[in-house]
């Protein structure tokens, strides 16, 4: 059963009287427990697609089916209730949290709004969520400004899994992090996926990151989908110009030794 099906989705922005197609005619599917890496250069429309999917922006045309229901037709309280099943982790580890929030209040919000556990057990559930993402339970009392970037992203992940979603949209979720922390956050995400069968739509401009976590990769360029396929196929044998350009842009400091007599010393 397909978890998510995006059909012919389009979105235009008008800037200074000129219409710019941020997303045009995109169709994608996502299976349960699968990670789809969505890659593209800056301004290719991948974040816009993620925000339309999260119902943060309205779509101009097209349809989204999520868990076999028309996702774009939901509104008001229905939409707010169903949001529990589709969560998001943002890129900006500082901007994604209310500056006045504490770690506990960040995790308490989804538990309270969706009534995940009875009120008396919320503190224990918060501790369990913190433990699951690898943070000590006594972090709950801290202000969100007192924890580091990597820890904040762990808290964002804990908030996202609090409502037991079936899909998490990760919008450049590790781009703002230190390279040394990045790997551990990716490991955590993969662990959670294996444990709970969550699907990820992983939006990134960094192919090295997507290579580590994606099952399939979709390449976007100027609002259009230029290529989709299994991760290995797209990376090793890119068909579209946009994909080739992105792969060519991955920095390589050490050139791999090529076979041939000219290199023999």
């Amino acid at each position: 059963m397909t978890l998510l099906a995006i059909e012919n989705l389009s979105k235009r922005f008008s800037s200074g009287g000129r219409k710019v197609a941020a997303v045009s005619d995109i169709s994608l599917t996502l299976e349960p427990g699968e990670t789809l890496g969505l890659v593209g250069a800056s301004g290719s429309g991948k974040s816009t697609l993620a925000r339309i999917l999260m119902r943060l922006l309205p779509a101009d045309a097209g349809a989204i089916r999520f868990e076999d229901k028309d996702w774009l037709a939901l509104s008001g309280a229905n939409l707010r209730n169903r949001r529990a099943k589709m969560q998001m982790v943002f890129q900006d580890v500082l901007g994604a949290f209310n500056p006045r929030a504490t770690v506990a209040s960040v995790l308490d919000d989804p538990l309270r709004i969706h009534n995940i556990v009875p009120k008396a057990e919320r503190a224990r559930e918060i501790a369990a969520l913190l433990d699951r993402v690898g943070l000590p339970a006594n972090y709950a009392q801290r202000s969100i400004r007192e924890v580091s970037g990597g820890q904040r992203q762990r808290i964002a992940i804990a908030r996202a899994i609090a409502t037991k979603p079936s899909l998490i949209v990760l919008d450049e979720a590790v781009s703002a992090l230190d390279v040394s922390i990045r790997g551990r956050i990716l490991e955590l995400l993969v662990e959670l996926q294996e444990e709970r069968g969550i699907s990820y739509l992983f939006v990134s401009h960094d192919l090295a990151v997507l290579r580590a976590v994606s099952h399939r990769i979709a390449v976007m360029d100027a609002g259009r989908l230029t290529e989709t396929g299994p991760m290995r196929q797209v990376i090793e044998n890119p068909q579209s110009l946009a994909a080739k350009a992105l792969i060519g842009a991955v920095p390589r400091l050490v050139t791999e030794p090529t076979e041939g007599p000219s290199h023999d010393v």
Partner: protein, 276 residues
Amino acid sequence: MRLLRDLVRTPEGAIGLGILAALMLVALFAPVLSPGDPLRITGRALLPPFTDPAFPLGTDRLGRDVLAGILHGTHTSLAVGLAAALAAIAIGLCVGLTAGFAGGLVDEGLMRVVDAFQIVPSFLLALAFVSVIGASVPVVVLAIALGAWADPARLTRAQVLSIRERDYVASARVIGMHPAEIAFREILPNALPPVLALSAIIVAAAILTEAALSFLGLGDPNVVTWGSMIAEGRNILRSSPSLSIFPGIALVVTVVGVYLFSEGLTKALSSRRLEP
């Protein structure tokens, strides 16, 4: 509480807070410091100041104690100033929050109303309002608030417009938070600091407007105010200037105290925002 500590650390804030605290105490304990109605006749008329220990600041044309008038006037000035500013900020916050959050036609409509109130000079508006409805403390408060709510409304709207695009508001929507809760718990507390800094200036302006209304005889005739005392002394300004000077000094001290407090508050808030 952290804000209070930051506030006292700036010299302006400490002095302003000191002056305001002293005035508050005077306002609260005026009935103890000088018991009885300050408007009653207690002694010989036009007693000069510093001559009779029973009337340290002398008496006015009708033989009313000037010191008692000033002590009790503190209560009126502060109460009217604070109530008017509170009302203005409450209206401004609600209008600004609604306009910024709703956007579209609601925003356009509300902002045109704000424009209308900003175009009319606030003192004339208060004057007309009190003349038509009649002078009493609640009417004076409302009249001053009507002329002062437009600025906080505009500021709040600007703050809301900037904050609602932040990721943490998107994050609140993503977890399914109700729009009213987003407005009051996520946006409003973060939009508040600059409005708070503006509020002190509104208090100062409200105190001055109240004094001016009383000076023109449009204050509540049943309570003593600094403005009405200055007006009272105006007729005999050349022979007994002290009757106008003492309430004038009280007014200046109060307004300077409020301004210093506001200055300190602004500094405390901005130093706080610089923290990581």
